[in-house]
């Protein structure tokens, strides 16, 4: 298959030396993005990769595309400007948990609410790495860090909950160590029309090593995560014998063939369902329930950038002026001879 692709992953790779720490999860996501773009086939010159500030926000320098490494938290607003000006471009926002959800929280929720056709990749390592180890808005309550030596006394954002709360229409969760699925998810995010949010659980090998270990390590992954695919049964487990069922108004994990549960009871994932209630329940699963990975929500909706340009066309169809002079002459004027 690879031979038939118009572009190869290397076409998206810049000549810059990648400066992330050895062992950082960001390396893997970068490689997945190169592969995903080759798969989707957007020409590198039609791609604009925007970022804020933070470790992950260095990513645009490693892409052989148009790129803009901007200021802390404002990437979503700048990307909104790029996409609104130029809906023809494939616009990516590379951001981290601090950049996106603390200083940039307002821009993030509004970009999602407006449904600007941005591909947002949120690198979540639950820590501030570039400033060397402070807790972030996704750090769990009680988390001990340099700025919380006695543990934090605040609850974290769950990116999925925030995205859906901001009326987001695409949310996926990926892990840095699963290259195949992360590549597929990024490709799906590129194909989705509208704001897509992909949360990638990445490891910070220096300041927060092993933060996602309980989910991402091979030995736990099968039992503690479920990979959701649209149209497929919600099954997981090392032996594929566990499933998610609806128990009253709650989700429940069951073993198929036990306690009277059969495969028929297991829910089928519908990522395209407009109502986001179940998507939110799936995204919030934790503790005894497996953590949901994959594309949790993927719903079509009108995009802001296209609507802006459509409205211009509609107005132009009704109003004859095309130049300032024509417009001014059509107003209340008088002549002095």
């Amino acid at each position: 298959m690879a031979e038939e692709l118009k572009y190869q992953p290397k076409d998206y790779k810049s000549d810059q030396y990648v400066r992330w720490c050895p062992g950082c999860g960001d390396h893997a996501v970068l490689n997945c993005l190169h592969k995903a773009m080759a798969e989707v086939g957007v020409a590198p010159h039609n791609m604009a990769v925007i970022s804020g500030i933070g470790c992950s926000s260095r990513l645009p320098y490693y892409m052989n595309t148009y790129g803009f490494h901007t200021i802390h938290g404002r990437g979503a607003a700048i990307a909104t400007g790029v996409k609104t000006a130029r809906p023809d471009l494939s616009v990516w926002l590379i951001t981290g948990d601090g950049d996106c959800l603390a200083i940039g929280g307002n821009h993030f929720i509004h970009a999602v609410r407006r449904n600007v056709d941005l591909n947002i990749v949120l690198f979540n390592n639950k820590i501030y790495g570039l400033t060397k180890g402070q807790y972030s808005p996704t750090s769990d309550r009680g988390f001990v860090s340099k700025s919380s030596p006695y543990g934090t006394v605040e609850d974290p954002f769950i990116p999925a909950e925030l995205t859906l709360g901001a009326r987001g229409n695409f949310f996926a969760r990926a892990i840095d160590v699963d290259l195949k699925n992360t590549t597929d998810i990024l490709a799906a995010s590129a194909r989705h029309k509208g704001a897509s949010v992909t949360e990638v659980l990445v490891n910070c090998v220096i300041f927060n090593n092993g933060i996602h270990k309980q989910i991402t390590d091979k030995e736990f992954r099968a039992e503690r995560t479920i990979f959701l695919r649209h149209g497929e049964k919600m099954i997981y487990g090392a032996n594929n014998d566990k499933g998610i069922v609806l128990d009253g108004l709650k989700l429940k994990s069951v073993t198929i063939g036990k306690d009277g549960y059969t495969l028929d009871d297991v829910l089928v994932h519908d990522a395209h369902c407009k109502d986001n209630t179940l998507h939110l329940m799936l995204a919030m699963m934790s503790g005894e329930m497996p953590v949901a990975l994959g594309i949790i929500r993927d719903v079509d909706a009108p995009t802001y950038d296209e609507a802006v340009h459509e409205q211009i066309k509609e107005v132009q169809a009704k109003m004859p002026s095309r130049t300032l002079k024509e417009f001014l002459m059509s107003g209340e004027t008088w002549e002095i001879k």
Partner: protein
């Protein structure tokens, strides 16, 4: 009462319409100024409304005013004090006492001057004129409400709708005072209420009734005649500064062949720019009402990166929020127009009032060595040219340009001769296609003479590149923390801005070449300073005026002009910001300073007094 009509011919006259914020005074003032302009008068107007959307009816805080200055010769300001005041209620009278000439004509609606009305405006006696010490004014007291209701009895309107036409009765009366034919006003009302013919007719009836009433009582007051004058031939329209700014941006985008993009967040007194440009989708303008001030400038920077002529509009507090992002545009060397319609500060300050207090913020209010171009518009109509220049310098020199206007010129309007756009200077973006050197192109390679980098826009094959807020290497454009390189880049960014002095006009000195006093100003005070100079000329004093539109960089002849005159006074509406800036730029420059920071326009008479003192010192 005298028996004959006294017709006084005047060169200029100031009329102030004042009433409750729901009384329609802005419309009344606008119609009156438009028909005076059509009649051939010079006009300058200024609306003065309360910060509150609707304060309690009849109270002092709810008074809304509109001042028109008309004349047979050049008018530059809305005027200091009113010759004629229309006061629709006692609160309007009280608030405007300080804006009245001693012998002014005051027109009141007696139906709104009852005991309860007087109490609402905190009068303690039943004679408001004596209480306010207004002994010299000529009062035209008309039972306007009653007459309007009677006049509209046949229209089938409810009481409230009928009373809404009071303002037109007052307008009719003023039209009679100034011998203004009503046809144009009728035409305007028909256009305004095209969809409500009954309301249009009711307003026209009230207007006519007011005029006729004036005619019938004409013996009681003076009437004024302002000769019309021959203005330069052309097509004219009435425009305020915010509209002119919007049109200037559109014109610049058209000339540059770029799509105009505005990212903005609502803020008084700049919001009308967002309103106007949002309407101009017919002219292919994109507007984004952003989630906050920062997003306003950031969406604009994104659009600039994507190839638009991008702008953001704001006022002082918003400019403060945008500083970091403007710094990004400085280091990324992207074109950007930032419009700051200045208002009273600091903090929220006085949002509806005017000041020139953001100059130093515009010049220096960013982290790092962060030079940007700073321009200031002089009059409502000059906002057009200033915005055009802002767009031109931004795209031709790949830099943010901050355009300072202010609440006074943004809301003030005057008759504007439509520009001959064909004759405006070209705007040529420095596109990457201009790059002709042998070395392979990199985003920070620059023109050797202007230091301007070449603009490559996403979608162009072969020009993929990364910009960012991190310092870049002069040659390779890669991230660099090399000390010598940083020094070079800082100096280069400064040199690029300084070089713009070669591409802007020199500052013009108006008035006496051998003046004993040079008045120096910048921005929206032009009209007042000019009038002060004119009056001093009439008094045979030798004065000249140098008014700056280009502030950073300063025009090349600045030092020569400032050192030519023995006495120089810098007059501005702040604590001496421009004076101090000039001192930092021109060795040995020690001007007199005149500053007023009251949120109100300068008063010409005060300027003359102060300048005369300096002259005679």
């Amino acid at each position: 009462m005298t028996e004959q009509t006294k017709v006084t011919t005047l060169e200029k006259v100031v009329v102030r319409f004042s009433g409750d914020s729901g009384d329609g005074m802005q419309l009344t003032g606008t119609i009156f100024s438009n028909l005076s302009a059509i009649f051939g008068n010079e006009i300058s107007t200024f609306p003065d409304y309360p910060a509150e959307v609707r304060a309690p009816q009849g109270t002092l805080s709810g008074v809304s005013g509109f001042q028109v200055h008309l004349g047979s010769r050049k008018i530059f300001t809305p005027g200091d004090k009113a010759d004629v005041l229309v006061a629709m209620n006692p609160a309007a009278l009280k608030v405007n006492v300080k804006h009245l000439k001693q012998n002014a004509i005051v027109l009141i609606d007696t139906d709104s001057f009852k005991k309860s009305d007087l109490e609402k405006a905190l009068f303690t006696t039943d004679d408001p004129f004596t209480e306010l010490g207004l002994t010299g004014v000529q009062v035209v007291a008309a039972p306007i409400s009653t007459m309007v209701k009677d006049g509209l009895a046949d229209f089938g309107l409810d009481n409230k709708s009928a009373l809404r036409c009071k303002n037109m009765f007052a307008l009719g009366l003023v039209c009679w005072l100034f011998e203004r034919p009503l046809e144009e006003a009728m035409h305007m009302l028909q256009t305004k209420f095209a969809k409500k013919p009954v309301i249009a007719q009711a307003n026209i009836k009230a207007l006519t009734d007011g005029y006729n009433y004036g005619h019938n009582i004409h013996a009681s007051v003076s009437t004024y005649r302002i000769e019309s004058k021959k203005a330069a031939p052309g097509i004219y329209m009435d425009v305020n500064g915010n509209k002119a700014t919007s049109y200037g941006l559109i014109a610049a985008a058209e000339k540059a062949g770029l799509q105009l993009f505005l990212g903005s967040y609502p803020i008084t007194p700049a919001t009308d720019i967002l309103h106007e440009l949002s309407k101009r989708k017919d002219l292919n303008v994109i507007t984004v009402q952003a989630e906050d001030e920062i997003a306003g400038v950031c969406t604009a920077i994104g659009a600039s990166f994507a190839g638009c002529l991008a702008a953001t509009s704001t006022s002082g507090p918003g400019l403060a929020l945008k500083s970091e992002a403007i710094g990004l545009a400085v280091i990324a060397e992207l074109p950007l127009v930032v419009i700051d319609v200045q208002r009273g500060g600091p903090s929220t300050g006085m949002p509806t009032k005017s000041e020139q207090t953001d100059l130093l913020q515009a010049l220096y209010g960013r982290n790092g060595e962060c030079p940007a171009v700073v321009l200031a518009a002089a009059t409502p109509t000059d906002c057009f040219d200033a915005a055009y220049w802002a767009g031109k310098l931004a795209v031709e020199h790949m830099t943010p340009v901050i355009l300072l206007t202010d609440a006074f010129i943004a809301n003030g309007s005057s008759a504007w001769r439509l520009p001959d756009l064909e004759n405006y200077p070209e705007i040529k973006p420095n596109r990457v296609s201009n790059y002709k050197e042998d070395k392979v192109w990199k985003p920070y390679r620059r023109d050797k003479e202007t230091f301007v980098r070449y603009w490559a826009i996403p979608g162009m094959e072969g020009y993929m590149h990364r910009l960012g807020g991190l310092e870049k290497d002069y040659d390779t454009s890669a991230i660099s923390t090399d000390p010598a390189n940083h020094q070079k880049m800082v100096k280069t960014r400064q040199a690029k801005i300084d070089k713009i002095a070669d591409f802007i006009p020199e500052v013009e000195v108006i008035g006496d070449e051998d003046a004993d006093l040079l008045i120096v100003g910048w921005g929206g005070t032009y009209g007042h300073l000019y009038e002060a100079m004119e009056i001093m000329h009439e008094q045979n004093k030798k004065v000249a005026l140098a008014h700056f539109r280009f502030i950073n960089p300063l025009p090349k002849n600045t030092a020569a002009v400032l050192s030519k005159y023995k006495k120089v006074v810098v007059a501005e509406q702040n604590n001496g910001q421009f004076a101090n800036y000039l001192r930092s730029k021109v060795d040995g420059f020690t001007p007199y300073k005149f500053d007023r920071i009251k949120g109100q326009p300068f008063i010409v008479a005060r300027l003359v007094e102060e300048f005369t003192k300096i002259l005679e010192a």
